[in-house]
């Protein structure tokens, strides 16, 4: 009879054991998936939108039926690693690149990434028959590149006896004026907004309307205070206007503020943001601008304004003492911008 008891016990424990099996399968996925290979981090922020970080300025990759649309191309020396990271996400070709400014860490990868892609136009190489269009239209079969006209001006300007960037990386679809440039790519409305005289005179904000992802371009850099390139047309007033525009373009999760629905903003460097983050960044820049403007109004010199520590409260996070863009360089740029004749 004891055997019957053990049999019953074994049966009950066996059923309990079976019931425990699914446990290993219930791990939920993180909100945003990421992987880092060869120093390039790929973050998936929407089902068809990825951010590639670590190869120069952040790159946005929008994947759809046409192929891959890139916003910015990173640095030239990172192109192979960027391509390898893209190939882990999709086997689609790069079809179009939009540049948000003319800096080397945004456009340096244009040539290699465009060459690895394929033009939107039908293209047959010369002497192979069929319609080829001209080389400028088709970029010799490579993916097309769109940017505000000043990007082309900067990239094609001669430095010494040769252009700043090789011709095959220049924008093939430059646009002019201050009207919004609108395209429909990958079943998504893509709008490009030129921001005159912000970081420079060649900046754009790129908005994927359906995906609700915005690339801020160089007007937001979460590593430092925003870089204002006065000598290339940048200004503190234009930068704040651009940040205001960015705030107006982003949608917060209101009215259900506890919900995670919202517009994502991809800055030039640093983590993916939302409207609240952009507001904090914009407000910081406005506060510092006001402090420096107050010093200018009181007739203080740049050196005297520096001594008032106008970035205090923010410099620990955004104002390094050394490096590419320091606390002093930012204060100097704001001062120069506020005191220039054109301001």
């Amino acid at each position: 009879m004891k055997k019957i008891g053990w049999l019953v016990a074994a049966l009950v424990l066996g059923i309990a054991g079976l019931a425990e099996r699914p446990r290993a399968q219930v791990r939920a996925e993180a909100v945003v998936r990421s992987e880092t290979v060869n120093g390039i981090e790929t973050l998936q922020i929407r089902p068809n939108v990825y951010v590639l970080m670590g190869g120069g300025a952040n790159i946005v990759a929008h994947v759809g039926w046409m192929g891959v649309i890139l916003v910015d191309a990173g640095s030239a020396d990172a192109s192979e690693r960027v391509l390898a990271a893209l190939q882990r996400v999709t086997d689609q070709k790069i079809r179009f690149i939009v540049n948000t400014t003319a800096d080397a860490d945004h456009v340096g990868g244009n040539a290699a990434l465009a060459r690895a892609g394929r033009t939107l136009l039908r293209y047959n190489a010369p002497n192979t028959g069929g319609f080829a269009g001209n080389d400028f239209q088709t970029n010799r079969g490579a993916a097309g590149i769109m940017a505000q006209e000043n990007v082309l001006t900067r990239m094609s300007a001669t430095v010494g006896d040769k252009p700043a960037f090789p011709g095959e990386g220049w924008p093939t679809e430059p646009f002019t004026g201050n009207r919004v440039k609108s395209l429909y790519l990958n079943n998504d409305g893509v709008q490009i907004f030129h921001q005159p005289n912000a970081h420079s005179d060649a900046d754009s904000i790129v908005h994927f309307r359906k995906a609700d992802v915005i690339s801020s371009g160089p007007i937001v850099d979460l590593r430092t205070f925003p870089v204002i390139d006065i000598d290339r047309g940048g200004s503190i007033g234009g930068l704040i206007t651009a940040l205001n525009n960015l705030v107006e373009m982003t949608i917060p999760p209101s009215p259900l503020n506890w919900h995670e629905d919202r517009t994502f903003v991809v800055p030039a460097y640093g983590r993916v943001m939302d409207q609240a983050d952009v507001v904090e960044y914009r407000d910081m820049v406005v506060v510092i601008r006001d402090r420096i403007a107050d010093g200018v109004k009181k007739g203080l010199t740049l050196e005297q304004i520096r001594k008032t520590e106008p970035t205090k409260g923010f410099r620990g996070q955004y104002g390094p003492a050394t490096g590419r863009w320091t606390n002093d360089m930012f204060v100097t740029a704001v001062y120069r911008s506020l005191t220039s004749k054109s301001s």
Binding site: I4, E20, A28, A30, V32
Partner: protein, 316 residues
């Protein structure tokens, strides 16, 4: 005898299964409605702290400078009208909370604890218990942060990362988005203590530790989510993009109001790591001159009416 033996075996087995099936790691049930016990720091939790009262905060000079430039007029900006407080508000807010257990639908294991904001202006906190990793530092930050938990005996220890920029005190002491927070949830019968340890490399000289207490309230009705919020500009002067209210350095007219009110030195009122230890209090005792009479909050803040209870709270 046979039947008795079988019954005994089944009973023993059921007990064994019951013991084995209960998660070994989860010792305490936090589920329920918890009413905030607000007699600790009642002023700060209720009507709000005095302006430029940074006592008890181990803040650095950068934080102090930012706090002195703060004006509550920023809440009139349409961009900020619906913006939540960051999750450390749990430690100095007056609201009740609802704690829910999120179960694995198959096994019944604890997937997460959800700590609601009681319908307040803080996002619910989800404490993931299923071992998932924290997202990349480059992933978006939400006002809920990202939190994982584990048991240390009967105490739930939860670590939050991905905190947004916010405040450490409602009078504008800043919290950076580099901050992290560790929560300790400890239940003693019907009392729940939540201790938070905040680490902010940008604005703190050392970690800030705060606690809050809650009493189990079977009649509580704190909701699981927050009310809706539709942003609009409350002050016409700020109804233009980029109008950001703040005090320029040296212009905050309330910079010393609190210190004067209580006869404190600015050094004491402005906080800092050195000011939160007994040694500083001893040093103050040699110079401290209490005000001749109480002129403000003499009967308590936050709606307390000590005078009605017969205490002559004006006498000193």
């Amino acid at each position: 005898m046979v039947i008795r033996s079988v019954i005994r075996s089944i009973a023993l087995t059921v007990v064994a299964v019951a013991v084995a099936a209960s998660p070994a790691a989860a010792q305490v049930d936090f589920q329920g409605q918890w009413g905030a016990v607000n007699h600790q720091e009642a002023m700060g939790r209720g009507p709000g702290p005095d302006l430029a009262d940074y006592t008890g905060l181990p803040i650095n000079d950068e934080a102090r400078h930012t706090a002195l430039s703060y004006t509550a007029a920023v809440l009139g900006m349409s961009e900020r009208g619906c913006m939540f407080y960051t999750e450390n508000y749990l430690l100095f807010a007056p609201h009740n909370i609802l704690i829910e257990r999120v179960n694995d639908p198959v096994t019944g294991d604890i997937l997460a604890w959800r700590i609601s904001a009681g319908g307040s202006d803080r996002a619910p906190i989800t404490v993931w218990m299923d071992g998932r990793p924290h997202p990349s530092p480059n992933a978006p930050y939400f006002f809920s942060g990202f939190t994982t938990g584990h048991w240390e005996g009967d105490r739930l220890v939860a670590r939050m990362t991905h905190m947004k920029r916010g405040i450490m005190r409602r009078n504008g002491v800043p919290l950076s988005d580099k901050a992290t927070m560790t929560l300790h949830l400890t239940r003693h019968a019907d009392i729940l203590t939540i201790m938070g340890i905040i680490d902010d490399p940008m604005y703190l000289e050392e970690k800030l530790v705060l606690t809050g207490s809650y009493r189990l309230n079977p009649r509580g009705n704190a909701p699981a989510t927050n009310p809706t919020c539709f942003p609009f500009t409350e002050l016409p002067v700020y109804d233009q993009a980029g109008a950001v209210p703040h005090f320029l350095p040296g212009t905050n007219h309330d910079a010393d109001t609190f210190a004067k009110q209580y006869g404190l030195t600015l050094e004491a009122a402005y906080g800092g790591a050195a000011t939160i230890y007994p040694e500083f209090r001893k040093r103050l005792q040699t110079t401290y001159q209490p005000p001749a009479s109480c002129t403000r909050y003499c009967c308590g803040g936050g709606g307390l009416n000590l005078q009605a209870s017969g205490i002559n709270c004006r006498a000193r």
